[in-house]
Each structure stands twice: as C-alpha cells, then as structure tokens.
Subunit: 246 residues, 2 copies
DNA sequence: CGTGGTCTTGACACGATTCAAGCCCCGTGG
DNA sequence: CCACGGGGCTTGAATCGTGTCAAGACCACG
C-alpha cells in the first residue's frame, strides 16, 4: 500500500500532453486543469479501483500499464481492456465503478476530483470533445475484441494479441514489411493473456508452443517474442488479407 | 431496394425526442438540426451500411431494430450490438464504416449529412454532451458483452440474452418478482441469436430445449418465451445474486 | 399440396478445459 | 555457495462442451 501523492510538474512538459484527455486544451484551459490535478502512484499488482467503489475521481494514466476487468462470483474473469499512458479512467456522471482496475506494472495517474472535472467538461468544450473521441475509439476497440472473443480460435486469438502488442509497442500504423524481424516484450503473464483472450493459461501456453513450432514466431525467453514475418502473423490472426493494418 | 425519402414532421412530436442524440437540445438547437435532417426507411433484411462504405451521413434510429455486425472472410460473423429507436449510427470524424449495419425489422432513420452535423457538434455543446453519454453507455454495454462472450457457457449466454430481452421489452429497471410469469417475443432468429452470443444456431436451439426441460422457461411457439421465475433465470445467467438487475 | 425458411434433434468429431506433474528461473536464507 | 521455495511456464492425458454434418419436423405461404 505504498502510494505517493505529489504536487507536480507543469502540464506543458507532461509526457501525455498531446494524447490525453487534455490534448485539445489551450493554455488557459490547461491552467484550469492544473489547478485541480494531482498525481498518485500504484505498485504493480495493486488494485486501483474495485468494482462497486465510490468513484470520486477520474484520471489519466501517465506512466505504466493497468487493466480493466470483470470477475464472476465463481472466479472466472474477463479482461475488458488495457490502459496505457494517456488512457482515461472513470466517467463523468458515474458514481460507482462498474469494473476492477488493476495496475499491471507500476503506474502513476494524473487524477482530478470528479465533480470539479465534470464542471470543467461543461464549460470547456475541448475536454468534452476529446473525451468523446477517446470513448469512440475505445468503443471500436471493444467491438473488435468482441469478434475475437466470440468467433476466433485459440490460435487466432494469440496471433491477434501479438499483432496488437506489436502495433502498440512500435507505435501507430505500420507497414507489414517494415516491422518483420522485430522482437517485442509481452506486457502480460500467460494468465493475464488468458483472461484477456477468453482462454485458460494452459491453452495460451500451448498455442505459443505451436506457433513457435510452425515458425510463425520464435521465443527469446518466455516473455519476448520475435516475429520473422509480420504478414504471416497477420494472416494467422484471421484478419482480412487486404485490410489496412491500422 | 424500395426506400422512401420524405421531408418530415417537426422534431417536437418525434417519438425519440427525449432519448436520442438531440434530447438535450433546446428549441433553437432543434431548429438547426431540423434544417439538415431527412428521414429514410429500410425493409427488414436490407443492409443499411456495408463495412468499408463511405459514411456521408450519421443517423438516429426512429423506429425498428437494426444490428451491428462484423464478418470474417470465411463467413464467421459476430453481432456487436442491437440498435433500437433513439440509438445513434455513425461517428463524427469517421469517413468509412467499420461494421455492417443491417435492418432486423423495417427501420426508419433520421439522417443528417455528416459534415454539417459535425459542424453542429462543434457549435452546440448539448449535442456533443449527449453523444458522449450515449457512447459511454454503449461502451459499458460492449464490455458487459465481452464477459459473456469470453467466459460464459452456452446455457448462461442464452439465459443472459433472455434477461436482456425481458429488460428491454418491459422497459427499464425491473424488480425480479414483478416480472415473473411474463412472456416476451424474441426479436431475433436462432441464427441471429447465435451470432450475437458467439454460438452456432444448433447450440442455441439445444439450450432452449434444455432450459425448457429444466423448467426455467416455457415456449409458446418458437419465438415466444414465458419466464415463470425471473430470479431463477437471472441466476442461470451467471450474474451476481445480489447485483441490481439494472 | 408443394416449397422454402426456420427450427429441432441426433451422432460424431474436435478444440479447449481440467487435472496433474514437472521444469525453469530467480531471490532468499541457511 | 548452495539448498530451498515459489511463481511462472510447459506439457501430457483424460474429459467435456460446443461445433459439424445430416436428417427430419414444423409452419406459413403461394
């Protein structure tokens, strides 16, 4: 439970200044936000928010990775999303959390008390606009994941996940050829991947072994994957061959 | 391909006036919208939008039911959502459609050309605010569905779907006791349910038979279901016993 | 009365889970 | 320095749930 609270740097130099909920704000609006913000850190493994908690704050992820997940009474859990720097936590107008948020690595958040933030959303359109954009992007991501969960095989799920990791770590849209031969670190354990993909950890492990045996990937230790041919991986993921690899 | 276009009634008397994207608008703002809107109808089964289509419009569903879905190259398809009256189609800033939209019944839409609509979103905050609320609601719905797709058994999926239908047709939050003994019509075919639930139509059919054999439901024809004990159905759906049946 | 669409049911196959054992790596303490 | 322990990971064998393929029932409609 060691969490630090610190009053903080100027927003100007913030690493997520240009992508977070504040990205459209001008200098004036930024000042408003600066007045009500504070940073807070969590250690890897800590639960940041429990389902059902009172939500008195909203926040942006500044550094680290967190997960959104939901757990059934009997322990089955489904991860609903991964939160990376600049992603937003909480929802204006919502009083209690619907999902668990857990720090997957050490995490620091830029927090705002909910009520003042809501007031700001009303008065400064740029925040609301950016929040809308981000929400719609998340909605698209959730829907893509629904196809994966509902219809893809275990092998396709793993391949899809790997393309996701590649796109996230290399950043933005990439040409298939350009990124073949690269290695990426997996940000999640086998168990966490299983929860993300709607599988068991044993199935995840087996599919990694099979993809390796088939030459689609090679493993450099259990948490680092080399992808000799990205286009091959892409097609293993069950994606349209011609689809833009957004 | 018989679709009608008609210039139309005043927004004042619109059946979705108080729930759609325009619900927060005042009289002035409504006038602005009225100037650029037009109605358009589709017959059951017609595809309203194909994935990849140019999206020159956005729209609200006025009457009828439509589905959002995504199909893989080999034909596997996953339904991503159901669109009911007042639900919104399209996204400001997006040029091409990511998903197929299909009329599940006869449907009429209230359409706006995208560019003028986007301009309006910028200038009239009430539209943007409402759009944000609606998007966040859809995001929550999508996430709940992810748990279903990733972790629930076929039986739980069917039971969950039935509770969804009950809640939608009886309207809003309901007390468990109050709605036991009611019958509801299923708005989808077995195949459409299968696509919604990530199952095959045979599995859907079998689970209906089993739930009937176990006394959880009874069938009045294949498209009408009677639920003698809603609390029982609710627990079959794998939901927390104490959770508010929102 | 025939036709096509929707739904049900059965037999079988297959993919994923479950249960179990054991490996590897790393940090801790004797 | 090495033994120990634990977490993360892999692998195997058996089981179970769902998909696949196929046949036939039901029903509305022409």
């Amino acid at each position: 439970m060691s969490l630090t609270s610190l009053k903080q740097d100027r927003c100007e130099s913030c690493p997520i200044r240009h992508r977070a909920v504040c990205s459209k704000c001008n200098a004036d609006e930024l000042l408003q936000l600066e007045k009500i913000k504070y940073y807070r850190s969590y250690e890897a493994g800590q639960t940041i928010i429990w389902r059902g908690d009172q939500m008195d704050i909203v926040a942006s992820v500044v550094t680290g990775t967190a997960t959104i997940s939901q757990t059934m009474e009997d322990g089955r859990t489904q991860m609903l999303g991964i939160l990376l720097p600049s992603d937003f936590i909480g929802r204006p107008g919502r009083e209690t959390a619907l999902y668990d948020i857990v720090a997957a690595s050490d995490v620091t958040l830029c927090c705002f008390r909910r009520l003042p933030f809501e007031a700001l959303v009303e008065t400064t359109p740029h925040i609301g606009q950016r929040l809308l954009e981000m929400s719609l992007d998340e909605l698209d991501a959730a829907r893509d994941w629904m196809l994966l969960l509902g219809r893809k095989t275990a092998r396709e799920k793993i391949a899809s996940f790997l393309t996701l990791v590649v796109r996230r770590t290399t950043g933005a849209p990439v040409l298939p050829g350009a990124i073949s031969g690269q290695s990426v670190d997996l940000p999640l354990t086998r168990e966490a991947m299983a929860n993300y993909l709607g599988l068991t950890l044993e199935t995840v492990s087996r599919q990694f072994s099979k993809l390796k045996a088939d030459g689609v990937i090679s493993l450099e230790g259990s948490r680092r994957v080399k992808i000799p041919d990205f286009a091959r991986l892409w097609s293993e993921a069950g994606n349209d061959a011609e689809a833009e690899m957004s």
